[in-house]
Every structure is written in structure tokens, then in C-alpha cells.
């Protein structure tokens, strides 16, 4: 009996999950009509100066740079102690509903989206077409920095969203896992490299980051879901995906697109900067 019940619960949760998969983006119009009493944490991921000049009312500053452990070395995610501090300060908890926005290029917002998911948050969305479009629409902005009540956040890791070197290594041998290279095609083909070695991780397929983006438009944004489905048509649903790029930044855009499509995806944050420089690891050209 209990088994049946849990099975039904599972079905229901799967269903609700599939719904959330398609609603990871929120439009400006939708956000503006959201009831202010709803407990939403708006995160402005642009740099501090831009935030101070003006931001969506009640938004909190969370510059994308905070998600890097050491951006100079590679895209590795911020250390737990600091992340715990940042999230506590901003009153964020694993159960908080988060809406992230950047200027509009999606890349920064996607990076923060990934980082928050890794640190255990489950209700995170991105404002479609960003602040630029918000301004264009003349929606309400502010310079007031809201007061925040710190949260009780304790570090929690969703290991399914974070791929280490070891996990990526395992994936190259596992037919049930797909490794996606988000770098440009020349980088994939070994013609250019940010590391000392050229090529790509064995078994990886190439889906360059740019292909997720509508570029020739006044407002940069992620492609609509239908186009994204075509883009990832070769990736069988149900397979686990590991995504990487040069430093684990732009790959988060692919990551976000795949999340919207409902894939179980992890970002290899150290990316080619680490793999390409480690002679002990195999590469392909």
C-alpha cells in the first residue's frame, strides 16, 4: 500500500517537475504583475556599480563574480564557506524562490542560476531578456537597497549539478552519459585552445554556446523552447549530461537550456582550463 502511495507521489512529483522545466524563465510582464507580497528574492547579477545606478525594485545585488572561486585560474564554483556567507547575508535559503536577472545576455544569469542550483536551491528562475528589456518596457526601477533579514542557510550540495574532473572522467567511459562541449567549433576541433593542449574531452559532442542564443536582435536572449529542442535533438532524453566550456562560464547557458528541456545536467566548472592543462587526461581531436 505504502509502495503504491509513494509511486503515485512519484508520478505527481514527476509531473510537477516537467512543468517547472518549461518555466525556468519568467517574462518581464509576468514579473511586473507578480504580487509584491509573494516572497521572491530578486537577484541582480550585474556588477555593483550598475546595480547602484538602478535596479528592479527590491532586487538584491549578487554580482556574478561571487560565484567564482578564482576566476583567474578557471570557472570553479565558489568555496562553500563564502557561498554560505553570501546566501545568509541575502536572506536566501534552499527553499527561497529566486528570480535572477542580468543586463540581458543570459550568460551571467545562467552562471548564477547554476551556482545556486549546485548549492541546493530548488526554485530558481531567470528574467527573460534581462534588465535591458525591463528598462525598455519602462517598468519600475529603484536605487533603494532593500533591508535583508539574514537566513539560516547551511551549505548543501546538489552533486548532480556539479561535475568534478573525476566525474567527467567517469562520464567519458559511460554510454549512458553525454558530454557536451560548449566551446566554439574551432576549439572543439583543436584549432584553438585556452590551455596548453588542443582538442576536446573524449566522447564529447559539440553544441557551441552561441547556438543557444538569438544574436541578431536588439535584445539578446535564449532561443525559444521549440528551437532548443531541435538543437539538442541528438541528445536522448533520460541520459545524464555533463557540459563544459573554456572556463565553465558560457557552458552554464547550455546548462540552463538543457535544464529547461528537462535534462539531468551537471556543469564541469573547471572545464577545459583544467582538462586541457592536465597531461594525465586523455583528449580527442
Amino acid at each position: 500500500m505504502l509502495k503504491y502511495l509513494s509511486f503515485i507521489t512519484l508520478l505527481l512529483s514527476t509531473y510537477s517537475h516537467s512543468i517547472s522545466a518549461s518555466s525556468l524563465r519568467i517574462s518581464a510582464e509576468e514579473l511586473s504583475t507578480l504580487n509584491s507580497s509573494e516572497e521572491i528574492v530578486l537577484l541582480d547579477v550585474r556588477n555593483k556599480n550598475d546595480y547602484e545606478v538602478g535596479h528592479i525594485k527590491n532586487a538584491i545585488s549578487f554580482p556574478v563574480a561571487l560565484t567564482y572561486y578564482d576566476k583567474k585560474v578557471n570557472g570553479k564554483i565558489q568555496k562553500p564557506q563564502l557561498m554560505q556567507k553570501y546566501l545568509k547575508e541575502r536572506g536566501i535559503d534552499t527553499q527561497s524562490r529566486i528570480i535572477i536577472y542580468d543586463e540581458g545576455g543570459i550568460v551571467s544569469a545562467a552562471r548564477v542560476f547554476w551556482a545556486l542550483e549546485v548549492y541546493g536551491l530548488t526554485k530558481v528562475q531567470i528574467l527573460d531578456r534581462g534588465y535591458k528589456y525591463w528598462r525598455y518596457k519602462n517598468l519600475e526601477t529603484s536605487q533603494i537597497i532593500p533591508k535583508i533579514k539574514p537566513s539560516q542557510y547551511i551549505v548543501k550540495i546538489n552533486h548532480k549539478r556539479l561535475a568534478s574532473k573525476f566525474a567527467t572522467q567517469l562520464a567519458t567511459h559511460n554510454k549512458n552519459k553525454v558530454v557536451i562541449d560548449a566551446r566554439s567549433l574551432p576549439a572543439y576541433q583543436g584549432k584553438v585552445s585556452v590551455a596548453k593542449r588542443f582538442g576536446h574531452i573524449p566522447s564529447a559532442i559539440s553544441v557551441p554556446f552561441e547556438e543557444n542564443i538569438i544574436e541578431n536582435s536588439e535584445f539578446e536572449s535564449l532561443k525559444p523552447l521549440s528551437e532548443l529542442q531541435d538543437l539538442y535533438a541528438d541528445v536522448p532524453t533520460g541520459k545524464k549530461v555533463i557540459i563544459y566550456c573554456k572556463i565553465g562560464l558560457v557552458s552554464t547557458t547550455n546548462y540552463f537550456a538543457l535544464r529547461e528541456l528537462g535534462y539531468d545536467v551537471a556543469n564541469y566548472d573547471a572545464s577545459w582550463r583544467e582538462w586541457g592543462n592536465d597531461d594525465s587526461l586523455p583528449i580527442e581531436k
Binding site: Y69, K79, P80, T94, V155, K156, I157
Partner: protein, 662 residues
């Protein structure tokens, strides 16, 4: 409610409750053991987990980075039973969590002591495990384990037990049913036997069993009881149907027989005889009840001897017998009845030195099936009997519809009843009155009177002598009344002896046959011995009409009386067929001239002459005369002139209660 249920149902229910109780108890116990086992496993696993994760947690504490925590998370996820883990540094700050924080949020779990397991309401284990290296503790981790995740053998067995439970109940009920069948059967057998017992027909069932225990005792006890009941019922039935004195049927039994005969269409004609002894009371009174009983037994014997065939004989009370002749015609009935009358008339009842002859009166009803109801038939037999009795003794009367002088008969019966009551001390009663008899030829300061009897029924209503005396005559009660008057008067005088000083003469009336009766003669003889009374003052009055003939047979007694000075008066002289011859031959001292002559003597010379002659003849025989019905002063004057000795009538004095004379 419970008492209403049959033994079988009770047993089944008890079994059901017992099985359910044991079943649930077992399941509960098993479940409890299961929980304990899970807790033990959980504690052990928490310990194992804590130790195996020790190094990882240590590195998470000292050298924190996301990859490391990711690996730890990945590893912990392998333990399905771990619901949550929270890692604390030395300062007690939480720096890492796994799973649902909900379980750890509550401060109470942060206060957990190292390695002391705690189980919360949901059954989850909370344990704080130290994170240490080289005997130095760097921090601690609270591990939350859900023991439900373990597959224990008990859990599998529990399901089996749960499945077995209804089967167990079913088998239990089946066994209970079989057992209850065995143990309720004897009770049902007895109950059924009791139901089938027919007390009316004295048919009782006995029961049998192979049990030798309490049930065997119950059965043999029941059988003993039944055989006793059968015996007792036989005796009771005989007693309830028979008269204990004569062994004949009693009223109940004969009525049942009569009723059945009335409904039997095979018998075209039947006869019911109501037979009553004429002299039973006399026998009872003169020679006693024992003799009376003996007489009844002998009569019963005689009836049994002479009646054979399809005949039922019953004594229905006193000396009253019913004889039912089934399938008998009227003529056969008459023959039988007359034969009975003859046999009883020939019968001589000898008791000690007395020999009494008896006779009977018979009322007879001839009836067809369904012609009467039982009640009507018996009533008709009674009416026929009273009609026979009314004819006199030793008579047969066959009931005829024209007999229906029921009211009269029944009122006579009623009056006869009153008389018997009055004789036996109430509530109906007699009262003695006295009327003046006044000397006409001389003056005296003494009194003379005639004793008269008056009667009052139980309600105090006055009953005229004209009413009750004929009835008393018919029911042969006159002798008793005469005895009663004589003895009552004597008793009154004995209590008031001073009255004798002014008493000159007292007249007491006797009925026609009384003087002849030995019973009365004995009564007088006893009285003479018993009472100190001036017997020469007593005059016994005998009516001319009914008693002249009887006096001839009582000469001896009359002589005896005369020897003691008791005089005799001839009452109502002139009314009957009597002649002056009687005055000459019979031993009367006084002649009472009937009132009818006195009433008209002043206008009718014949009456006047009659009075005069009577006086003259009486005078010649030295007899005194009394004129009745003296109503006026002129009457008195005339009678005195004629020479009549005494006058009696309203003018001279109305009857007054004797008590007023005393």
C-alpha cells in the same frame, strides 16, 4: 442483549474476540520487535556511517570546497536510509547539510549528546557522531536515519501474519462452530423434548445422551423428573376427575364427558339424569355425617351395580348425582330411571340400631347432539330435578320445554337457601313474635300469646310467611322450623325466667307432618328434660287442614305430652273438610275458630251460628275456644256474649317481637 444470544452464538463470538485479541496482540508484538530491530540496525548503521564518512567529513571541515562536498553528498546518497546529515565545526556552527533540513532545524536535535541515539515520534533515529582524527574531535555530524527503509525479515513475516490473520479467524470460527454444535445440542434436545411434552394428554418425552458428565446428569435428572411428573400427573388426573368419597366422576369430569357427548354426532339420542336423595339431610341430621357418607358410598355402589354399558356416573355435590347415558333413547332412559327409583326405594340403610328407608327424586333430560350447550343442558337437568322434587318424593320428571318455570324455581331455591341460612345462624334470620290471646270471660293480670315466626333475608328484607312457609314445606324444612321455634322460645324464657310469673299460656304452631316425626318427638322429649318450664302453659297448635290424619299416628306422643301437661290446639277450625267428629275424638284442649267466621259473624247468621255451635260443643267436651280475627269492640262484645273463652286479633293486640313481651 448478551443473554438473548444462543449458546452457539455466544461461543462463536467469544472465540472470535479471543482470536482477534490474540491475533492483534501477536501482530502488535511482532511489530514492536520489528521496530526494536530496526532501531538497533539504525543505530549500528549510524555508527558505521559516521566512521566511514569520518575522513570525508574531516576534509569538509578542514579543507572545504564544493567538489569535496559534492563527492560526500554523492556518497551519502548511497545510503537510502539516511534522511539527513548536518555537519558542525568546533564552534557548533553548521557548515554543511545533506537531505531534508526539516529534520534538523529543530534546536532539540542540536542538543543531542555524542553517540546517544534518539528516536523521534516518526521513528527516525537522530545521532550525533564525532568527527575526529588522532583522538582529537574537529566537529560533529548529526545523522538522521529512517529505519523504515530497512527490509527486515520481521517486516516480510508481518505481511504474512497479516494475511494469515483472516484465515486464522476463519478456521477458529469453524472450530468454534463445530464445538458449539456439540455442546449446544444437548440443550436443544432437552428444550425440544420440553416443548413436545403434552401435559393435557400426559405424554412426556424422555431424552438420551452418551455424555457421562454434567450433561449426563442433566439428562438423567430430567428423565427422573419426567417419570415423577408422569406418576404424579396420573394421580392428580384421577383426583381431579374423581370424587374422593365415592370414587365416581366429579363434576369436572362428568361435564367434560357431557360436553364430548354433546359434540358426538354418532349418538342420536342421550340421556342425562340428575338424581338426588330425598332423605339425605335427615340421615345426616339424625345419625350423623359419617352415616351420611356411608349412605352416599352405598348409593354410589348401588348405582354402579345397576348401571352398565356406556354410562358415566358422577357425584356432583352433596347427595346430587349425575348419570350420563350415552346413545340412549327416552324410553330406555325412563326404564333405567324407574329401575333406579325402585332399587333405591327398596334399599334399607342400616346404621347402628337405626334402619332408614330412602328414596330419590330424578330429573331427566333427553338430548341430541348439539341440541344444548353444556350450561343449558345442566340447567335443564336441574330444572327437571326441581320439578321432580316439587311433585314430592320418589318421583321422576322428564324435562320438557314447558318446564321453564325457572324464575319461580330459582326463587324457591333462593328462599330455601335463606331458610337454611336462618336455621344455621345467618346471615338470614328468624325472629319470634307473639300476639295476644285475651280471655274474654274473666279479668287476669297474666298474659297468653301465640308465637309467630318472622323472617328477614341476608339484606334485612322482611319475607312474608306466605312466601317462605310453602317453600319450607316443599323442601321438608318445616320440621326444622318447628324445632327452631320451640327451642328458641324455650331458650329465651330460660334466659328470662321472671317472665314466667306473668305467663299464663303460650301457643306454638306445628306443621302438618311435624308431630309424626320422630326427630321432633325426640326434640320435645329432650326439651322436657333440659328446660325447667311450666309445660302445662304450652299449647301446640296443629292446623286442621293438613294434620288431622297425622294425629292418629301420633297418639302415643300426644299422650306423652298430655302426661307432662302440654296441651293441643286445633288451628283454623272450620276451614277444612273437618267435622265436629274430630272435636269429639281428638285430644284437643283448645279449638281456634277460623277468622273467616269471626269476620262476618255480625252480618252473617250462619257464621254466627257456626261460632255458637262450636263453642257449645267445645264446652261440652270441656275444651276452651279462641276466636281469631277480632277487629272491633263489637266483635269482642258479641264473642263474650256467646261465651268464647279467648279472643285474638288486631283489636286485642297486634303481633309484637317476643323481646318486647319479656
Amino acid at each position: 442483549m448478551w443473554q438473548r444470544l444462543s449458546i452457539r452464538t455466544q461461543l462463536m463470538l467469544l472465540m472470535f474476540f479471543l482470536l482477534t485479541f490474540v491475533g492483534i496482540g501477536t501482530l502488535g508484538l511482532v511489530n514492536w520487535f520489528d521496530i526494536k530491530e530496526r532501531q538497533t540496525i539504525a543505530t549500528e548503521q549510524a555508527d558505521t556511517l559516521g566512521r566511514s564518512l569520518n575522513n570525508d567529513l574531516l576534509s569538509a571541515l578542514i579543507n572545504t570546497n564544493a567538489d569535496g562536498l559534492s563527492d560526500i553528498t554523492f556518497r551519502i546518497e548511497g545510503f537510502k536510509s539516511v534522511d539527513a546529515i548536518q555537519l558542525f565545526n568546533n564552534k557548533g556552527e553548521a557548515i554543511f547539510s545533506y537531505g531534508n533540513e526539516m529534520y534538523i532545524r529543530d534546536d532539540i536535535y542540536k542538543k543531542l549528546k555524542i553517540d546517544v541515539p534518539h528516536f523521534d515520534k516518526t521513528g527516525r533515529l537522530f545521532i550525533r557522531h564525532p568527527v575526529s582524527a588522532d583522538e582529537y574531535v574537529y566537529g560533529s555530524a548529526i545523522i538522521v536515519i529512517n529505519p523504515e527503509q530497512y527490509n527486515t525479515r520481521v517486516k516480510e513475516n508481518f505481511i504474512t501474519l497479516l494475511l494469515i490473520f483472516p484465515i486464522e479467524i476463519f478456521i477458529g470460527m469453524l472450530v468454534a462452530w463445530r464445538i458449539s454444535l456439540r455442546y449446544s445440542k444437548p440443550f436443544e434436545t432437552i428444550a425440544q423434548a420440553m416443548q413436545e411434552n403434552d401435559i393435557e394428554k400426559n405424554q412426556f418425552k424422555s431424552v438420551e445422551t452418551t455424555f457421562k458428565n454434567e450433561i449426563g446428569l442433566l439428562f438423567s435428572g430430567y428423565n427422573k423428573m419426567i417419570s415423577k411428573i408422569i406418576k404424579t400427573t396420573k394421580v392428580l388426573r384421577y383426583q381431579s376427575h374423581h370424587d374422593s368419597l365415592t370414587g365416581l366422576y366429579n363434576r369436572f369430569a362428568i361435564e367434560k364427558e357431557i360436553d364430548e357427548t354433546l359434540k358426538n354426532e354418532n349418538y342420536k339420542s342421550n340421556v342425562l339424569i340428575n338424581l338426588d336423595l330425598d332423605q339425605f339431610k335427615t340421615v345426616n341430621d339424625t345419625v350423623g355425617h359419617i352415616a351420611g357418607d356411608e349412605l352416599l358410598q352405598m348409593v354410589a355402589h348401588t348405582l354402579k351395580q345397576s348401571l352398565t354399558g356406556n354410562t358415566d356416573i358422577a357425584r356432583v355435590g352433596g347427595d346430587d348425582f349425575f348419570i350420563l347415558l350415552k346413545n340412549t333413547t327416552e324410553q330406555q332412559g325412563i326404564d333405567i330411571a324407574e329401575k333406579l327409583l325402585k332399587e333405591l326405594r327398596d334399599f334399607r340403610f342400616v346404621w347402628l340400631s337405626d334402619t332408614l328407608s330412602i328414596s330419590a327424586s330424578i330429573g331427566m333430560v333427553v338430548f341430541k347432539p348439539f341440541e344444548y350447550t353444556l350450561t343449558d343442558l345442566i340447567k335443564s337437568a336441574d330444572i327437571a330435578f326441581y320439578n321432580a322434587k316439587a311433585k314430592g318424593q320418589n318421583k321422576l320428571h322428564i324435562y320438557d320445554e314447558n318446564d321453564k318455570d325457572e324464575k319461580q324455581l330459582s326463587s324457591e331455591i333462593q328462599i330455601a337457601g335463606y331458610i337454611k341460612e336462618a336455621l344455621n345462624g345467618g346471615p338470614s334470620r328468624f325472629e319470634l313474635y307473639a300476639q295476644d290471646i285475651v280471655p274474654l270471660q274473666r279479668e287476669t293480670d297474666k298474659v297468653s300469646y301465640e308465637i309467630l315466626i318472622r323472617m328477614f333475608d341476608s339484606n334485612g328484607n322482611f319475607l312474608s310467611p306466605d312466601h317462605f312457609l310453602p317453600v319450607a314445606e316443599r323442601y321438608q324444612l318445616m320440621i326444622d322450623i318447628d324445632k327452631y321455634v320451640l327451642t328458641s322460645y324455650l331458650k329465651t324464657i330460660k334466659e328470662n325466667p321472671q317472665h314466667l310469673k306473668k305467663l299464663e299460656s303460650v301457643h306454638i304452631n306445628l306443621a302438618g307432618g311435624t308431630l309424626n316425626q320422630i326427630e321432633f318427638q325426640n326434640c320435645v322429649k329432650e326439651a322436657i328434660e333440659l328446660y325447667d318450664f311450666p309445660w302445662e302453659s304450652l299449647e301446640l297448635e296443629v292446623t286442621e287442614t293438613s294434620s288431622i290424619g297425622n294425629l292418629v299416628h301420633a297418639q302415643e306422643f300426644i299422650k306423652f305430652c298430655q302426661q307432662h301437661g302440654i296441651g293441643f290446639a286445633l288451628d283454623d277450625f272450620g276451614t277444612g273438610m273437618s267435622s265436629f267428629e274430630y272435636l269429639k275424638n281428638l285430644p284437643f284442649d283448645i279449638v281456634k275458630i277460623d277468622g273467616s267466621f269471626v269476620r262476618d259473624m255480625l252480618s252473617d247468621p250462619v257464621d254466627h251460628a257456626m261460632i255458637r255451635y262450636t263453642h257449645e260443643i267445645s264446652k261440652l267436651r270441656n275444651q276452651e275456644t279462641v276466636a281469631e280475627y277480632v277487629e272491633t269492640k263489637d266483635d269482642v262484645e258479641e264473642l263474650r256474649k256467646i261465651g268464647i273463652t279467648y279472643g285474638q286479633g288486631y283489636y286485642l293486640g297486634k303481633p309484637r317481637p317476643l323481646a318486647e313481651w319479656i
